[in-house]
């Protein structure tokens, strides 16, 4: 469902142009999962941002179900984010002014795909049932990340994009959260692309690829 071809992206910095992605090729089938690995600064997050339509590539193509993502309008990209994907970041990025319940339901409601049963199920599975009235700042890091995962999956997105989702957690809770996420992704029927630099975590996913020097080095993605 997701095809990335010769994707290039560079950033302009004070020191000049910094090429980050120099022709990335990637494929992800529906319902499968892929771990995107690489050193710090290798462009993992940049690739994720491009896939989420948060940024635009310099050249190359991103095809979603054979439809190109680049060239879409700002509004279309926003729609893509709203309805097509779920995003989980390292920094949780919950809406601090809303309580857990509202945060969980936010994207599903926004996308117009709120399902009460699915939502309940998610909440229970994520162990958030007793925390619904709390605000993000009143939660631990693991709890917050679980809310973020719940929010991302509430609308059953076709693709879940996760950027170091467990990067701020200790090893034990990290495994636990990841396990939960993969389980729920499977139940939602979503594909998942997860950025991580942990070999251990990457092994839990179906496919792995390594981003190095702006290119995908491992053939796994192909």
């Amino acid at each position: 469902m997701l095809v990335v071809e010769q994707l290039c992206k560079s950033f302009t910095t004070a020191q000049g142009t910094l090429p980050v992605l120099q022709g990335v090729d990637l494929r992800l089938a529906r319902g499968s999962s892929l771990a995107l690995m690489g050193e710090s600064g290798s462009g993992k997050s940049t690739l994720l941002h491009l896939l989420a339509g948060l940024d635009r590539a310099d050249s190359g193509r991103i095809l979603i179900d054979d439809e190109p993502l680049d060239g879409r309008s700002e509004a279309a990209l926003a729609r893509w984010r709203r309805q097509g994907i779920g995003l989980v970041f390292q920094q949780y990025n919950l809406i601090s002014s809303l309580d857990v319940a509202a945060n969980l339901a936010f994207q599903a409601r926004l996308a117009g795909r709120f399902e009460a049963r699915w939502q309940d199920y998610l909440t229970r599975q994520l162990g958030l049932a007793d925390l619904l009235q709390r605000y993000p700042e009143q939660l631990s890091g693991g709890q917050q990340q679980r809310v973020a995962i719940g929010r991302a999956l509430a609308a059953r997105p076709a693709l879940l994009l996760a950027d170091e989702p467990t990067g701020s957690l200790d090893e034990a809770s990290s495994d636990q959260v990841l396990e939960l996420m993969l389980q729920l992704v499977a139940e939602a029927g979503s594909s998942v692309l997860m950025v991580t630099h942990s070999q251990r975590l990457a092994l839990r996913l179906e496919q792995r690829c390594l981003l190095q020097d702006g290119r995908v080095q491992d053939g796994a993605g192909r």
Binding site: F11, L18, V20, S40, G41, G43, K44, S45, T46, H49, A52, L54, D55, E74, A75, A78, R79, W80, R81, R82, Q83, L87, F89, Q90, Q91, N93, L94, I95, S96, S97, L98, A102, A105, F106, Q107, R109, L110, A111, Y135, E137, Q138, R151, D163
Partner: protein, 820 residues
Amino acid sequence: MSALLLTMQALLSHWRRHRVQGLSIITGLWLATALWTGVQALNSQARNDYARASAVVAGPAHAQLVAPGAQRFDQALYLQLRQLGWAVSPVVEGRLRFAAEQPLSVRLIGIEPLSLPPATNIAGIAAQDFDLQAFIGTPGQAWVGPDTLQQLGVKPGEQAVTSDGQVLPTLVLTPQLAPGIVIVDIGHAQALLHAEGQLSRLLLTDDSKPLPDAIAARLERQPGEDDTGLQRLTESFHLNLSALGLLAFVVGLFIAHAAIGLALEQRRGLIRTLRACGISLGTALSGLALELGVFALLGGLLGVATGYLLAAALLPDFAASLRGLYGASVAGHLTLSAEWWLIGVAVSVLGALLAGASSVLRAARLPLLALAQPQAWRLAQGPWLRRQAWLAGLLLLLALACYLWGNSLPTAFTLLAALLLASALLLPSVLDALLGGLARRCREPLTQWFVADSRQQLPAVSLALMALLLALAASVGVGSMTEGFRRTFTGWLDQRLAADLYVTPRDTAQALQVRDWLATQSAISTLLPSWRVELTLQGWPVQVQGIIDDPGYRSRWPLLELRAQAWEQLAGGTAVMLSEQLARRLGVQLGDRLQVLPAPAPGMTVVGLYADYGNPKGHVLVNADWLRRQRADAALSGISVNLPAEGIAPLKHELQARFALDDSRVVEQSTLKRWSTDVFSRTFAATAALNSLTLGVAGIALFISLLSLGQQRLGQLAPLWALGVRRGQLAWLSLGQTLMLSSLTVLLAIPLGVLLAWCLVAVVNVQAFGWRLPLYLFPRQLLQLALLGVLTSLLASAWPLWQLARRQPAELLRQFADET
């Protein structure tokens, strides 16, 4: 030292990235200082001029001898005292009128340079340094200040001519002389005032001896200066202005406080790092204090300079209204001492301290090892709101106490201040509660977020909203009072100024001739002469007006309260009517007995009270015949005449030609009304200007809060954007939030403003001027002000939001990862 330098370097680097914040602090202090010092400049210029006016004849001798009721007395008393060895110096005073561009009345002071107490100086010239030959000789000298000279439209060395055709001695420019005063030798003064052999007061050098009996029977010792009257009369006016200045000051400090607090918040990490690197707490705090000092100095200097310009711009109207209202002369240009500039800067430093002290204290308590936690707003907000609500409750109690038991202008202003401050403190709680209520009704995720996020913004913008509330409420309050006063005043003028032509003859002799001649004019339907005596009643200057019994008064003299048969009793010489403010001042009510003239004159019953707006002196209405019987020196001061419209102009010309009266002495009703309303509008021009400036400052406060919120807001908005809300939509939502908050504030400001207006007309006015006005509300005006408030907030939020809408996705992205 080098540690401090390094600290400063690290602390100051913050401002390179947060220029707007730095600008906010300076702007806050700048505006606060500017408005406050501007108002103080006006007030101190006026007070200075009163002091100069009273200190025209200043010296170690403060006490003086005057006749009861401030009448003039025979010069023989001076000789008598002198021959008893009393070192007294005679002064005669009066007013001279000039037909300059605007009719002008100056205070003529006649002094006797040889007998002036030693070490006396007159407008900066020592008594022994007088050029006696020139001063007391012929034609002599008339000393005037630069303003008076300009108003007279003459040059030094020329001789001014009064409206009665009298020629003054040669004018000599005396820069230090207070405006509105002319000083001449006593001989010239007596001639100009038609007061040969008469004196107004005697300056006393030795205050310890008891007066000889023969003198004590005729003169009384009056401690202090003559200007206390003027000081007292104008006190309320200046207090009003000071209150406005203070309001502006507070609003300015809100801005500075908010910005300083934010800057500290953002530098918590930095300060912790500095301390971890071995910088002592003392050094870090010194660095912060030093930085605050630099801001204070910059803001102060800017503020004082702006305050000066502001005062200079407002001064003409200010001076004109003081002259019109109180006859107090204030120079048309500012002369401010170095002291004033210093105080201005000191005020700014004090303001910076007030605004920044809490931040520095917080920095002092910052734990060295605590992690930089994200602000737990939800947890912090509750107690914060509760604390403010408590404080507001206490202030409301204070306001209530002031209302119930207060009986002075300071308590009236305390009432106002407590009310305003309490409302400001309550504002976040009220808004929070309103938004909370609203949130429960929201289902839609974006609206839910909209309300919830607005609520979260409250602590950050509440100071600016408080400023908006205060400024707008003050605008509504002052605006309603002013409009209400204008309406009451013009209505009252219409009734009170019922005659077609007002004649003010030069003196009683001429007045009698004018009256007799007018009596022969067949066109005239009513002829009302009025007699006047000026005296002091329980220390208050009072005009006693004697009127004849005419049915016209009954229909046209507007009374606030009266007893049955009031006019009949007045005509019978057994009753008086009082102006509202005098009645309040003396604490008398209808039916009370009042000793208007000193015994043996009989006491009289108070049978009526009337409004006498704009008159700083007390006013008493008595029967003319009674007054003339009691007081031989009662002057026939004015004659008012009614006649058919077509006869007015010819009669005026005839009067002017026949009795050599100028335009200031024969005045048509329309002209008089115009003069009165001119004075009125000028009085409130300065107030209105200050008011709109304060509203502007509130707008700037909002603008700056939103601007400094900008960066913080990004963190709140980025997740929404990532979840698929467009940037444009986010900008609109943000604008909506600001507008919602400011509209709610405006809605709350309106009733508060109305309450304020009520306090002003029913409490402050009564204490300040002695009259109570009906409370008028003007829906159109309220709507205008409400729109102005919303517009202000719209303008204030436009730029920050435009910036937000222009944010590149990259900047939003930075909120998600530190990796590129």
